[in-house]
Symmetry: C2
Subunit: 255 residues, 2 copies
């Protein structure tokens, strides 16, 4: 299915699942929408934490993408959204048209789903994709660089990788620096403050086999964690794992 | 010091220590010498296990290097050698001139010391280099591909790396595929049959700090392990950690 076709299904409310494994080879993006008064500071914060929050596009007029998927409607073309008030998710919805305000600025942020295809093509199948689950995501103790009052800790996604493929996974994903790049941590979940690997903070739990090692990549859910901690009065984000699927090929972001 | 100057000291018996950290930026090599009747099979075995045993030069006439250090005398220019009879190290010597036989074939094999400089330059200091120790090496349960009766398990070298630098270490060393390339294993020593990380099978023990993870690279001591297991009647190798320092820059092997 083309990204356009998938986004059309999503806009029609016919697809509201996690997007991992969909439209292989196309870049997927996290979304954060903030009132204009916070947008400049958030952008600076993102740039100071570019491995966790790599900004791909800023839409500060209207709600239509100009770079990642020309003409796509950010209000309807993501499968699920979280509405946050004072840092708390008050609602999960499939269409944010009713919540649109003219002063909202939308950020599209690189997502590790974009390099899944490269991992699979290089002999690293992904269990959560095969099982049509959401990726496992965890809050960590990895501190972000503080900017203009924005601060907090990184959220990571986890993929179990066969032990003899761990270095390959680091190398393959390093070629996608704007999709978080190489892992931020390898093995030993407790070293980054993940206490129970079987109970992710977001997404689904996946099995880690005896000959596999958990690899952790920075995750675009990080801003939600920050917004929650800051108790920002209002924000909209994608729901973890439910991404904006763009028209841009992952090869265009291969460095 | 230039590699030529170091080799001269070595030939004079004035340097017989491990060579890690010496002549940074120059390729170092493992050495294996075998009677001609085993040489062809060993070469095939090496090529079938190129990540562990990457052959850089074969000297099958005389004992002088033509590629890695033109004119260097393989019999005197390595700090220490092991003499193996029936697979047992019967002597460790600093000069093998008395053991030379016309039918010996010498193999120079890529060594991970060659990418130490790249690790250090990329912000990964190496404790054993700083402490002027030999690198820690371990026998593993990683099976080699069997060829013509040559078989056995891989030997690995271990370097503790800061947890946030693990992926970088994989990426940096992946650019030196003929010096073993990226790690064969990351963390969890027991997964590759290393039971006591504090007691290496070759070299010195080094501290692994709380915020560090042990990374394992294939090691050119692997052939010695194979020769020992096969109980080959006669062989000469370098002593683990005591390498042939060549005149070739590591940048020439950067891919």
């Amino acid at each position: 299915m083309s990204p356009q076709a998938l986004r059309e299904l999503i806009a029609q409310g016919k697809f509201d699942r996690p997007t991992s494994g969909e439209c292989p080879g196309y870049v997927q993006a996290n979304m954060v929408a903030l009132p204009r008064e916070y947008a400049k500071s958030f952008e600076k914060f993102a740039r100071a934490n570019a491995k966790a929050i790599p900004v791909l596009e800023v839409i500060d007029e209207g709600f239509t993408s100009k770079i990642m998927a020309k003409g796509a409607n950010i209000l309807t073309d993501i499968p699920r959204y979280n509405i946050l008030k004072n840092g708390v998710v008050v609602e999960e919805v499939t269409d944010i048209t009713p919540y649109y305000q003219e002063d909202l600025v939308f950020f599209l942020i690189g997502c590790s789903f974009s390099f899944e295809n490269a991992l699979i093509q290089n002999g690293m199948p992904l269990r959560y994709v095969d099982e049509k689950k959401n990726v496992s995501m965890y809050r960590t103790n990895i501190k972000l660089n503080e900017v203009d009052g924005f601060s907090g800790e990184m959220v990571v996604s986890m993929r179990p990788i066969k032990k003899e493929k761990v270095a390959d996974a680091c190398v393959v994903t390093s070629h996608f620096p704007r999709m978080h790049g190489s892992p931020i941590h390898v093995g030993y979940p407790e070293m980054i403050g993940v206490k129970d690997i079987a109970n992710p903070d977001y997404g689904d739990s996946v099995l880690i086999k005896e000959d596999e090692i958990p690899l952790f990549w920075p995750c675009g859910v990080t801003p939600q964690n920050v917004i929650t901690k800051m108790k920002l009065p209002f924000a909209i984000t994608h729901a973890p794992g439910h991404m904006f699927v763009s028209d841009v090929k992952d090869s265009e972001y291969y460095e």
